[in-house]
Symmetry: C2
Subunit: 264 residues, 2 copies
């Protein structure tokens, strides 16, 4: 049975009521095209688009946008050679790109956060699911042990840590993507009496400096920063698995990227 891009988008947006203000949209392609294969990814990098071309996929479902801006502003990029070449590659590929950001974050529960918790095998530790965070009661481990465990489960080469590596943690809050900023993380640490925040990213002198000050005051607080992609790619990978159940006759691939940064 043939399915169109519009039908896939409808399926992906069905779990919640339509959003009025959203960055989610079809960034390339036509809704009426029949889908021959789906790639799911964190962000359609140049390499991900090439992977999709090699796999013969004609729909990419991506969490972040194509052109390095949350609101897809491209006015500063009109003469930019990287932008022009990437746009040309996408047009030549004929691949449609659907950005699924706000909808998937508003699934009940937020599938991006749930996917990270699942990848960490911590589903049995969930104590509370809040709109922007999930609170976990972990088996008691040190910060160093948790960092090592996360790297192993996510297959990532490093995490960044603030706090005492030997501190034992039990109560952790997960804040994916850019939710690691102070306005989210600091009230959460206090309200939920967290030992540990595990975050994607956020401005460095907000939450990280708060945690450093808390430690200097003798409080048991720590922060593990995964990276934005590292925190959100597992949710998109979980989406790919879910889509396979809904669309068993279509090839559906999760398209991974290499780590963004090298530590030197």
């Amino acid at each position: 049975m043939a399915i169109t891009i519009q039908q896939v988008m409808d399926l992906l947006m069905a779990p919640i009521a339509p959003l009025e203000n959203t960055v989610d949209r079809l960034e390339a392609g036509h809704p009426e095209t029949t889908v021959t294969g789906i790639g799911v990814t964190f962000m359609p990098t140049h390499d991900v688009i090439q992977q999709a071309m090699n796999l013969g996929i004609n729909l990419l479902i991506t969490h972040e946008g194509v052109f390095y801006s949350h609101h897809s502003h491209t006015d500063l990029l009109q003469d930019d050679p990287v932008y022009l070449q990437k746009r040309g590659l996408i047009e030549a590929s004929g691949i449609a790109i659907f950005r699924l950001h706000d909808y998937i974050h508003q699934y009940k529960p937020d599938k991006i956060t749930a996917g990270l918790v699942q990848a960490l095998h911590w589903e049995d530790c969930i104590e509370k699911v809040l709109p922007i965070s999930t609170i976990l009661g972990l088996p008691e481990m040190t910060v160093a042990e948790i960092a090592k465990y996360i790297k192993l489960k996510l297959g990532i080469p490093y995490v960044r840590v603030v706090g005492d590596m030997s501190m034992r943690c039990k109560r952790a809050g997960i804040l994916v993507g850019y939710r690691g900023g102070g306005a989210n993380a600091i009230p959460l640490m206090t309200a939920e009496n967290l030992d540990l925040v595990i975050a994607g990213e956020g401005p460095e002198w907000e939450t990280p400096e708060y945690v450093r000050d808390a430690c200097r005051q003798g409080r048991r607080k720590a922060l593990i920063v995964l990276g934005h992609a590292e925190s959100e790619a597992p949710g998109m990978k979980a989406l790919a698995e879910q889509l396979r159940a809904f669309l068993p006759n279509l090839p559906i691939h999760f398209l991974a990227e290499q780590p963004l940064f090298q530590i030197v």
Copy 2:
């Protein structure tokens, strides 16, 4: 000759015309107090305040604010124990805190950027001083060599790099603090034909992903991310040196912090 906090603030704000909208202000203390010693720092962390107390300083000049928010919003922190204890420490210390952020960035040239260029011993390489960036013509080095050089000169344990470590660079742009975001860095790379951006911090899927895509397209682009504090502390250290020349009879200390993150 006695000098008041107001007189020191006037001295620090004198280089440019008064700003109407600014985060710069006296965050603690009284303008009429006579200054007995000055500490200059990137951010008044709990440890920096304790260093200042131990040194008998009564004025801290800081680039970033006290409470983990660029606009010094503390409404979410009113019952926060870390906030309350830090506020108590500051009150008990009697130390005045003057935030010098917007003024020093608007000195001609921006002293925060100039201080970083100076700490890197690259003053002779300056090709152009732009409002938010300085463009350098460096002696040709690989990305790996530049990263190693920066770590050595700034005394920092790591930098984060996007791009080919063996790529040879000559033309670099410096973007301190939070100026590493896409809206600043991406047009600059193109307009100034940069091989390399050296930035403080910025959202991960803006400039870093742009540089990754550029590399995949075969372009010679790289990014070195220093960290926010790492990129701005040298400018505040340079300010401390300058103040010593103006106020030779006052003890003036630059108060350093440890690296914020551990890489695990």
